[in-house]
Symmetry: C2
Subunit: 495 residues, 2 copies
């Protein structure tokens, strides 16, 4: 393979040594899928050594979304991060963000590539990207995610490629890669169907920027799919029943519409429930392709999926690799600017299903900050889909921490999706269809259909006692439940 040997082969330590304190580093990765692994892990070691020697070492970290443990966990454990965007799901990184040790920028995922292109976020000094292959003329064949990698390859000053032998070299058959030019040179995006392709099967880079390749053989390390619990199954039941009724009423066409589902147990349960329902075989236009979808696709319940990542546990990923003739024509892997593109989501009529931390009685949704202050993961792609969906659905269990927390509250403590964009809320208790309703009818429906019965009296009383207005709120008591939680560990201490 003469192409590859023309780039210097570096050890992870040698590559990490090229990244100075204060650098802005763009890493590949959208979920653990396709995340850079060896170099960030070596970088964490380098940071520890420098810190022990009394020298500062921190970098700014830009990725597609969350990453493998070798990246966010390792760098956070080594106190090696000063700035992070646009999303994360690492326990240690979260702690540092919530203690303001790390400055975090919580962004709509579809915005990240264009913000780089427009020059709205810091210049990228080094890109570290995982690939199955890279050619001397600068074609970079990516692995299990695309994320923001094509953009960081274009804009980074220096590039390190982790060539990971673990992945199928046929992944390029799924890739559809394009970087949108900045306006005013933009044309309509030619995606007419979830499986439309518009780009190339590889990302492009100026080969002169490649300072070396690092050879690896590493798994993504995606946690396996756990079977849905009873609460998730109940939520899924309400969602599936609603969608079936919408189809019967003619408000969803007979061929159905593409679905998007967020990450996690509830979304997995919904997908499993749809798979077993009388919904016709369907497509997805989504950002994450998870374990549950492999079976649905093999059963031909799921006909095809556009996604930004293959976030699959090792056995499921191997199942895909062992059956590439089947899967390669049914999956399209796109950059997050396209997988999550608001215009395409609206055009295709995507039905979006995302998870909430809490919802309020008027239909506003908090997806990111517990008690308005403590970041969970970030908004991710939920805003890209919710704001532009054909039907925007937000789901969560009606209570948390054994009932100490009601997820239905008078006023959410952080607003990620507001009443103007949220159409459907579902919990294990039931589903509230908010279309066409003013605030007071929304409140009645959300309390009666979605709140846990133990909290309903409190919520109804809140509305009745609040000052009159188009929306009734009492600015003394709107956060009483949250304050109780912070002070007493439970939202209704006397309840």
């Amino acid at each position: 393979m003469p192409n590859k040997t023309s780039f210097p082969v570096l050890t992870p330590d040698e590559a990490a040594a090229q990244i100075p304190h204060g650098a802005t580093v763009g890493f590949s990765g959208f979920t653990p899928a396709g995340s850079a692994k060896a170099v960030p892990e070596a970088l964490a070691q380098r940071a520890r050594a420098l810190h022990e020697a009394g020298e500062p070492f921190k970098i700014s970290v830009l990725t597609g979304a969350s990453t493998a443990s070798q990246l966010d966990d390792a760098l956070a454990d080594a106190d090696a991060v000063s700035w992070r965007a646009p999303y994360q799901s690492s326990r240690k990184m979260r702690k540092d963000i919530n203690n303001q040790q790390v400055q975090f920028l919580d962004m709509h995922l579809s915005h990240v590539p264009q913000m780089i292109e427009f020059g709205f976020i810091p210049q990228i000094d080094v890109a570290v990207v995982e690939a199955t292959d890279v050619t001397t003329d600068g074609r970079v064949y990516l692995t299990t995610s695309v994320g923001v990698t094509p953009s960081i390859l274009r804009h980074a000053d220096k590039v390190i490629v982790e060539v990971n032998r673990h992945h199928s070299t046929r992944l390029w058959e799924m890739h559809d890669i394009a970087v949108l030019p900045p306006p005013p040179q933009r044309n309509p995006i030619p995606i007419h169907h979830p499986l439309s392709k518009m780009g190339t099967p590889f990302a492009s880079v100026n080969p002169d920027k490649i300072i070396g390749i690092v050879e690896t053989d590493a798994e993504d390390g995606v946690a396996p799919f756990s079977p849905p619990d009873e609460v998730s199954e109940r939520i899924a039941g309400h969602v599936v029943e609603f969608l079936m009724n919408e189809k019967k009423a003619g408000r969803i066409p007979a061929d159905f519409l593409p679905l998007q589902a967020g990450v996690g147990n509830v979304a997995n349960a919904v997908m499993a429930g749809l798979g077993e329902s009388e919904v016709p075989p369907f497509y997805m236009y989504t950002e994450v392709y998870q374990d549950a979808l492999v079976d649905l696709m093999r059963k031909e319940r799921l006909l095809g999926a556009s996604t930004c990542s293959l976030t699959l546990s090792e056995p499921k990923l191997q199942e895909v690799y062992d059956n590439m003739d089947f899967f390669a024509s049914r999956i399209v892997l796109r950059p997050q600017e396209l997988s999550n593109n608001p215009g395409v989501v609206r055009r295709l009529g995507v039905i979006s299903i995302n998870t909430a931390i809490e919802v309020d009685i008027y239909g506003n949704v908090n997806s990111t900050h517990v008690t308005g202050t403590r970041l969970m993961n970030g908004i991710g792609g939920s805003g890209d889909f919710t704001r532009n969906a054909y039907l925007s659905m937000l789901v969560c269990p009606s209570q948390a921490k054994g009932g100490a927390i009601s997820t239905v509250v008078p006023m959410v403590s952080h607003v990620d999706h507001n009443e103007h964009s949220v159409q459907i809320i579902a919990t294990d208790q039931g589903l509230a269809d908010l279309r066409g309703l003013g605030p007071m009818e929304r409140a009645r429906r959300i309390i009666d259909h979605c709140a846990h019965p133990k909290y309903r009296d409190y919520l109804h009383r809140y509305v009745e006692d609040a000052p009159m207005g188009h929306i009734r709120h009492d600015l003394h008591t709107c956060y009483e439940l949250h304050r109780n939680l912070l002070e007493h560990g439970t939202m209704l201490p006397e309840g």
Copy 2:
């Protein structure tokens, strides 16, 4: 004109008599421009007479946005409305909404046509639309706005056309009308430039649904443009300076990008300021074409504008009508689904400038509800543009009511645009560029650059005293300023 006489000519009273109690009525109108006038005014009379006779009469009112005084003011004065969507700016209607006499649905304006098409809001019984002409085969030539009229003509059971002789019969030269089909039959929207056209110069209706025409000769009644005050000019100065610097830094291309500006004094001042600046001649992709733009266009500072309405005072409208050869090729009037389309806004790279009621120290914006409860007008198109803009700017004076109100608060009492979508905030005090910043840096910048000096200490202290977190908030005191205002008439009673 044999075409028109083939439809029955009705008096306004005869037309109004066709609209029963409980009906859902779709009226033309996007601002006072193109609003139905004679029939709603007669309907208000009919409601009064029925109420005096002890009979109930209320209707559901759907329009493009706000309307002429003959519509919202008249119907609200007559207590003839039970449900209203998607936006209004009438003093009496607002009062009824805030007393919950009228159920109000506050919607993103671009959503309204598709919600009708999808069957997500109530079936329309009667459409009442203003036109310059209607043909026996169902071509309806609209007047000074398009709004949601093409959709209500498609979906209403019965149609009444107000043929208004006051308007230029050449307005069709500006119109570009299309109704998007529901997914999955949607193609990319072929708008490559603010002046691209994709549709027809008329709206279409099944002529069998037309139960009559009403002949009128009525002005839109748009209030004349008032010259900008000093505060607005200061805000405009900061915005213009920022845009010039972005252009110098290469983050806005040399040819500039299309602008969108909301309604009102500040937006007018910004447009006037841009007109006098060194910004090159530019285009607009906006929802309302206001008085200030006529002069800018005649000076060839404004090269062209896509809009949903010509919201012009009578002298300015006559100036346009007297110079149709000049203006007709420079203005495109579109339905709100296209004038405000998120995908097109993002593709064209629109720079959006909208007015806020209040902003918070983390960059969340309230555009709709005073103290979280009392509706002002509605979100209108501000969300369509802000969420998808190349640069999203929100502007407001730093204080209101002679200093009793700080428009910069710890936590906004209603969130219409959140921290994920808001990039720039400007007040008379200065401008905060939030791109790339985490919450704590955003707070410092907004307080120091945008808040009135009298409130800065309070706001800094709020952040310092609030519990640690990614975002610092104290759920006991986050609304202290609002509570002070409600209880003492001023946010800082001791200040």
